[in-house]
Symmetry: C2
Subunit: 707 residues, 2 copies
Amino acid sequence: MAFHSSRRLVICSLMSTALAATAFGDEGMWLFNNPPLQQFKEKYQFEPTPQWLDHLQKSSVRFNSGGSGSFVSADGLVITNHHVGLDTLQKISSEKNNYVRDGFYAKSRAEEPKATDLELNVLMSIEDVTERVNAGVQPGLSGEEASKARGNVIAQIEKESKDKTGLRSDVVTLYQGGVYNLYRYKRYDDVRLVFAPEEQIAFYGGDPDNFEYPRFDLDICIFRAYENGQPAKIEHFLKWNTTGPADGELTFVSGHPGRTDRQLTVSELAEARDVEVPYLLSMYNRREVLLGAFGARSFENARRVQQDRRGVENNRKRYDGYLAALLDPEVWSAIDQREQRLRDAMNSKPEFKGMIAAYDRIKQAQADTAKVLPVYHYFETNRGRAGATYRAPRAFYSNLFKYARRLLRAGEERAKPNGERFPEYRDSNRESLELDFFSTEPVHPDVEQVTLADSLTDMATAFGFEDPLVRQVLAGKSPADRAAELVTGTKLGDPAFRRQLYSGDPPAIASANDPMLELARLVDAPARAARKTFEAQDETKQQAYAEIAKARFAIEGTSSYPDATFTLRLSYGPVLGYEENGKQIAPLTTFAGLYQRAAEHNNQPPFDLPKRWIERKGKLNMSTPFNFVSTADIIGGNSGSPVTNKANEFVGIIFDGNIQSLVLDCIYAEKQARAVSVDSAAISEALRKIYDAGALADEIEGKTAQR
Amino acid sequence: MAFHSSRRLVICSLMSTALAATAFGDEGMWLFNNPPLQQFKEKYQFEPTPQWLDHLQKSSVRFNSGGSGSFVSADGLVITNHHVGLDTLQKISSEKNNYVRDGFYAKSRAEEPKATDLELNVLMSIEDVTERVNAGVQPGLSGEEASKARGNVIAQIEKESKDKTGLRSDVVTLYQGGVYNLYRYKRYDDVRLVFAPEEQIAFYGGDPDNFEYPRFDLDICIFRAYENGQPAKIEHFLKWNTTGPADGELTFVSGHPGRTDRQLTVSELAEARDVEVPYLLSMYNRREVLLGAFGARSFENARRVQQDRRGVENNRKRYDGYLAALLDPEVWSAIDQREQRLRDAMNSKPEFKGMIAAYDRIKQAQADTAKVLPVYHYFETNRGRAGATYRAPRAFYSNLFKYARRLLRAGEERAKPNGERFPEYRDSNRESLELDFFSTEPVHPDVEQVTLADSLTDMATAFGFEDPLVRQVLAGKSPADRAAELVTGTKLGDPAFRRQLYSGDPPAIASANDPMLELARLVDAPARAARKTFEAQDETKQQAYAEIAKARFAIEGTSSYPDATFTLRLSYGPVLGYEENGKQIAPLTTFAGLYQRAAEHNNQPPFDLPKRWIERKGKLNMSTPFNFVSTADIIGGNSGSPVTNKANEFVGIIFDGNIQSLVLDCIYAEKQARAVSVDSAAISEALRKIYDAGALADEIEGKTAQR
């Protein structure tokens, strides 16, 4: 778990405590068009060819639900984490067929069930469009005008590229606005489930072991990409290594870290520490309690909220760790010093001295943004991440509201010129949006009522019961009664109804007379107003950060890496143990360790073993390496990233970081921070001995082309 | 669970929606010196004798840890709820002897283990001291001076009474300051455990079933009071009825409702709704998550935080329900109308017109209090309830801090004249304070570190990392490091060390050089300052409420009951079912229903049965009534209250209210709100058939004087 996606807000960073242009240790989430060749060579005497890089890039897969993966067969097999696949497992399960709890294995291709709304992306090319984007924004514009102008030129570039190549085309902001790149992706939206283990072994040890090490998790899930109803023919896929990496062996990680903000200013990080992260934790705490209490009522209740609960618990533990890092005076002093040194350097050079004012502009933009933040968070967005699935705003913890807003906004936005729309409604994103909107995932009215009633209560206490907008939203009812009225009254749970309204004209939507749609309409104006302010201030920040970045490039050199943005990055580092509380932690665990841990806890949850693992214990080679740690610099979104060796072979799959890695959001720390992976050897062994999935093992090991 | 004690803040009330002097339905938590004789006679043709009332009063027991109980044998047997006894069960358990999980039965008196710090009180007399208290407060004093003067005269009355009678003597504020009564209690502080069932049957159904009905809980715990090392000889104890009450039978409840504020102003209730209850819920949510995550790591972790976790979950569900009531426009409109009618009545009478200003004075006092509330809550008090155990303030979620503050303050306060001390350090409370301070309850450093680190984090985010007081408290360390330093450095976990310092002079405390004691000293001045302001404003409120009360008495007559104050009250009402979602809920459940519920949930937690209950199913009479509901008006603190019939026999024991009763804090609602009890018949049957405790059953049933 742990490193899945990212409803993550502000994070931070720091290149060690120094401003060194060269990264510290095995630091860095590097661009594939600017890989750390010097570090590879100097520290590891490794010189990859362009073909090596190209092959790894094109074997890497982005899960748009928020995670990473890789192709591992010519016939479209994609391996990712169980917790990345969990979203799909939950959506295609029912009370009768509980794939989350029981796992799944398709013995033949005909038995591979289709995901309801899963989109995979493979990065095909990168093009620098910085000049064109900046040329589209005249100097001297207000924040709002500049934001609009930038949106326009980006939309134009994306649309041209999409029309020309047919590929998904995203303009990506790097170095906080210093660089704009056009990324072109091959999309796969017919994705089918091949294999998943039981959640109990995928997430063995549950919340207590999440973000901890030593670890014993088979956190994998295997899908197959299809094209035109047939398994996709894949040119670039990773060769499987059945033995896994050795202690000390150099490994590489190719994946999609969701977001770091290692270059945020001190004032933005202070806001993260004192306001934003506590705000998020208050939300996760309340949701964890809510979903826990709901789930405890029956097995079916628990099943219905399982994925959501897991996500919430994961975020809670992650942000707890991040907050602890921000409240650590040593970390904070390093953050402080880092900015001070850059400021000093800028002050000492006449050509950059004027740019110091950029820091104040960011601070002012923070203050201006703060005024609209409550409305922005509660009514406009729950801060979905670039590329990740849109989530309903905090006041409306409801999939039905999500659909209502989508429908309403699609009507409003499609009527505008492409460049003036919100990015999510631009032509270049239309296929992805519709995949999600027409999803056949089940909507559970009981869950919807409970979560919506809770978020309406949350809203009422955040703004006060007498607040005019609160009164309008509640419409003279209690939160529970209002939630019941909305959920039982709306027809938006039916995909056919959504499709019908979506395909009609805006007037059809206006006359639909659906209560959830009316609610979305009711809050649309204040929500849009808050977003407008937010985005204008964000543009102001972006321009200021671009100035700071320019100074930094000039002072430090450009051979560095930008903050993570859920785009493909290359990290690296050897398999390496560490010391914790005076004790040496070995880098690799084994199956034997798994059984030992279960025995120590009397096989009680969350340390219990699935039935199959108890029954087939005798068949397993107990010394098979199970999980391992390496020094690679990773973060949320890297979940499911392939771990490869110098020969570009698949030797493992990232699924977590240890508790000491939670500081990586704001500082790279090689001493204890570790990336945690499942060993490829364990996957082969488990598929064959536990799951009778020899045919699948043969396919990923390249022993047969066809199962 | 559910109705245990009360870290409860502001609650509210409303005598139906009308200002009628006679209570609505079976409303009321009546004083024993002003019982609802008229209602008894008119509605139920029942006329109890003074002896009947005296017997019930003196058979009733207050658990100072926060709950109620009653004597049920001549040899000192006291029955209460399992969740009231849980505090003691937790404190006398260990990893090896887990009385919470496994239950306990002392086969002989020699085997009855002594509680670490349990104090029982029996109300012996009530005396009106209103005139003397008010005479001690000269008109025209400032809030601070008046608060001091009132404290002085109250301390004097209490000390005189204690010196004269030897009884615990508390001056009790009734009608929000309209009346002051002197309550004299017989204390028992040698209390021993006789019987407890397994938590799994005492709290069957766990959090999902808490505050719900139908119900199947054996929520009982039996202690024995001792005097001079021998079982106490009890004159007033309740005769046991082995068949329980019939459907429709009138019953009485004699217990200690913790607190209602049914006479709070609308402005105070709005503060409760928008500020205080959300504030409390944010604390309970974060603690529920914290303790849940800690407990999931191992059985022993779970055991160590079990009682605390239960209490937190209970409060979270309770406040969720209370907030839902406050956010219900129907409830709110009734609250509004109630105040408006009283204001109208006051306006229409010249002699009360001037008193309307009291509402504004309360509002002003709220505003003045609000300025110090964060410091007051985080550094001075977690708002312990009158009579309930003191709890550490929110910033220091730690028993060790509690001891440190006690020690520091005891030294400071004892040096002052008795009347000028904080109430908890007055001579009249000395025995109770020392019982708690010298408790041998275990202190678990691992738990302390986790809870203290979390509350320090909470504090840092509430005030901001740069706040001067926060910086002083953290002393340049992260919350986790600071907590570790404090917990490992202090010696206050050792009762002998506490006793030694406590018995020494203040200089001994000053030179103790204990880090936790130093922390208590560090925050003492700001904490005291906040409390001073809080109490001065509280005095202002009390005077204003006293004026409103005077007007209300004159307009409505005085035949009403005051808000609950954790003092003895009499409630009543018949055993009666109710309708919920169109379905009729029968008032009584049976053992058969318990087994059916377990079967429906595959005997999985929290619906699993203890081993004994599975093995001995065949011995039980399945039609034995198990739990029942009545219309009695109860609230937190009533847990463990005896339920009696007209013959003054014990027919059951209160342990909960249903979910519809959570509104009772602010409105009496007979339609659906119900008090939930264990049937006396089930207790007899279970003791004999499940627990082989025939001797104990004989004693409570009066069949033997001596086991």
